[in-house]
């Protein structure tokens, strides 16, 4: 006894799908095109999203948010510090200054500094500034300790790039840098903006510059005639430079959202109503708005894919009905020898599903290749975006699989039921 199980029937049907190559490729193309479009777009979007913003999710979990002070002239920095206590990690003085300028025969570059105040929560593991957050580590020296805060030491923590520029391979720890302090001064009765004096700061630690800045810096150094590098200079919050006590704007990064309400209540008292003093950006909100943008883009691609699939469905229906008509003799024979309407219908549905699985696999492979190659070329052309990495999500694959197979299934129902309803004796005479 030999048993002809389901596998035999599936193998039989599998051969059927290749019977008419042109038809097979037409149907395949109709399904591959939207599948490929959808997966490539999703893979690319996911990759960009996760390359850029996945870190943000981490900060969102840390409950971080930033406050941007628009104009703090009415409240001295000291006041804010008293008010906020330990609730912030860093704040940035808006005192961007020109730290140094380098000129060679064919290249010039300028280093600007951002003065960033830190409190005792600053460990160096995370660079938390107003507009970026990066994981980091102290690779030489140390961060600030309690006595640094108490004694208001003129200490500074710099990054590896600045250390490399200023000291090359020499050990920077213990060395002193002088930073120009900018401000307004009177000259012959006219207010002018410029360097007021130089503030010496002793280097106690070196922080790993983030990879992105490193790659960008090297790239600029190799390719650009003129460029600027922004470096962060970390000082203790207790170390006050009198000239920058009234910054134009300060960005605070907090690690505890609970205090924002208390702060705003105190902060707003005594200030004319209608004055917009600060702006709060929760990482929650930042992540949410980015996610929303990506979601909208994704929905757009789904819509395009669905429209393409609908067009394909219409053509699949007509192609398949044509196929059924062409195979009417075969259908008659199968029915005469015992294939019921249901079995006949299932046969055609299985054939349709096999074609769509083919289409799905082709779109999957092509999309993965396309995204990998695309990102490879992209990274090659933009070395500073070295961290752009392909991330492929299973949800996308499932979604595409369902869309392709469902539309193929729906499109095959009509021709399949047409095949099922074919009258045997008519079909037999057909040959």
């Amino acid at each position: 006894m030999r048993h002809l199980g389901l596998l035999y029937r599936i193998n039989h049907l599998f051969k059927n799908i290749f019977k008419n190559r042109t038809r097979f490729f037409l149907v395949l193309f109709g399904l591959v095109l939207p599948g490929m479009l959808l997966m490539t777009a999703y893979f690319a979007l996911d990759s960009i999203y996760y390359s850029n913003f996945n870190e943000y999710r981490h900060y969102q979990e840390l409950n971080l948010f930033e406050v941007r002070m628009n104009n703090s002239e009415s409240r001295p920095l000291i006041y804010l510090q008293d008010e906020l206590g330990e609730k912030y990690i860093t704040y940035k003085h808006y005192t961007k200054g020109k730290l140094a300028e380098f000129e060679t025969a064919n290249q010039s570059f300028t280093i600007y500094y951002d003065l960033i105040s830190t409190n005792s929560h600053f460990t160096g593991d995370l660079i938390v500034a107003g507009d970026y957050v990066m994981p980091s580590s102290i690779i030489k020296g140390r961060v600030f300790n309690e006595s640094d805060f108490i004694e208001n030491k003129p200490y500074v923590v710099i990054d590896t790039i600045l250390s490399g520029i200023l000291f090359d391979t020499e050990d920077p720890i213990g060395k002193t840098i002088s930073i120009p302090i900018y401000g307004y001064y009177l000259e012959n009765g006219i207010e002018k903006y410029g360097i007021l004096r130089y503030q010496p700061l002793e280097i106690i630690g070196v922080l790993q510059a983030d990879m992105r800045s490193q790659v960008e810096f090297i790239n600029n150094l190799e390719n650009d005639e003129n460029f600027a590098y922004n470096t962060g200079l970390y000082v203790t919050s207790s170390f006050l430079i009198p000239e920058v006590i009234k910054p134009e704007a300060i960005t605070y990064v907090f690690y505890d959202t609970k205090d924002i309400n208390r702060m705003s209540a105190n902060f707003l008292s005594g200030i004319p109503t209608g004055t917009i003093l600060y702006q709060v950006n929760y990482f929650d909100g930042i992540v949410y708005s980015i996610q929303e943008q990506y979601q909208t883009l994704k929905l757009g691609f789904v819509a395009v894919a669905v429209v393409l699939l609908l067009i394909s469905m219409v053509s699949i229906i007509s192609i398949m009905i044509f196929a059924v008509k062409e195979r009417i003799g075969e259908i008659g024979v199968k029915k005469a020898f015992g294939a019921s309407k249901v079995k006949m219908m299932i046969d055609f549905l299985i054939e349709g599903q096999m074609t769509s699985i083919f289409a799905f696999l082709i779109s999957l492979i092509v999309s993965i290749y396309a995204v990998y190659i695309g990102f490879y070329i992209f990274r090659y052309n933009h070395p500073s975006l070295y961290f752009y990495d392909v991330s492929i999500h299973f949800d996308t694959i499932i979604l595409t699989f369902l869309l392709i197979n469902l539309s193929s299934l729906i499109a095959t129902i009509i021709p399949a039921s047409y095949a099922a309803r074919i009258n045997i004796s008519d079909a037999i005479k057909f040959e």
Binding site: M1, S340, S425, E431
Partner: protein
Amino acid sequence: MIKLENVTKSFGDLIVLKDISVTINGGDYITIMGKSGAGKTTFISMLGLMDRPTSGKYLLDGQDVVNKLDEEVSRLRNEEFGFVFQGYNLINDLTVEENILIPVMYGRKKQVDVEYLDSLLNRLDIKHLLHKKVNKLSGGEKQRVAIARAVVNKPATIIADEPTGSLDTTNRDAVLQIFRELNKEGVTIILVTHDISLTKDATRSYRLAMGHLI
């Protein structure tokens, strides 16, 4: 046993079969003759459950099959009948073996009696053709493959619609010999033919004319 009572079949206004009553017993060898367009194919299509009568009763082994569901009728067709068609009606792009196994594939048991099939292939002299595509075969070979397909499920009844119509005498005699042997083994044979000489094997011969079976 097949029993028809007052069976009528019409296509629109055209009444092809009128009020036919007939009983066919197990082991019968029946021939049906008639002019072209007399309704022979229509009649045997109905006998073989490929078509339903417009009115009348059809009892298969005592069971009314006219109002049975498609699933059940298909099963009966698969298990009780084997068909040999005038135009062979093989599936061209399949091999001989795949064609022969079609009834098994759509059957309930899906079991092939390998020994039986082997002896069948030897008897029909098509064993060497098993893996050939059927469109490469000669007419006689095709008809023998069609016969193998008709009997692979060991049906009680074989219905053949002018099976020898397009064969030469040697092939015709071979096919008739097979039917004779199958009939000896107890298989009911229902044969549609134009050839009066074929009626000599029959236990009963009918003629279809003006919609009546006489």
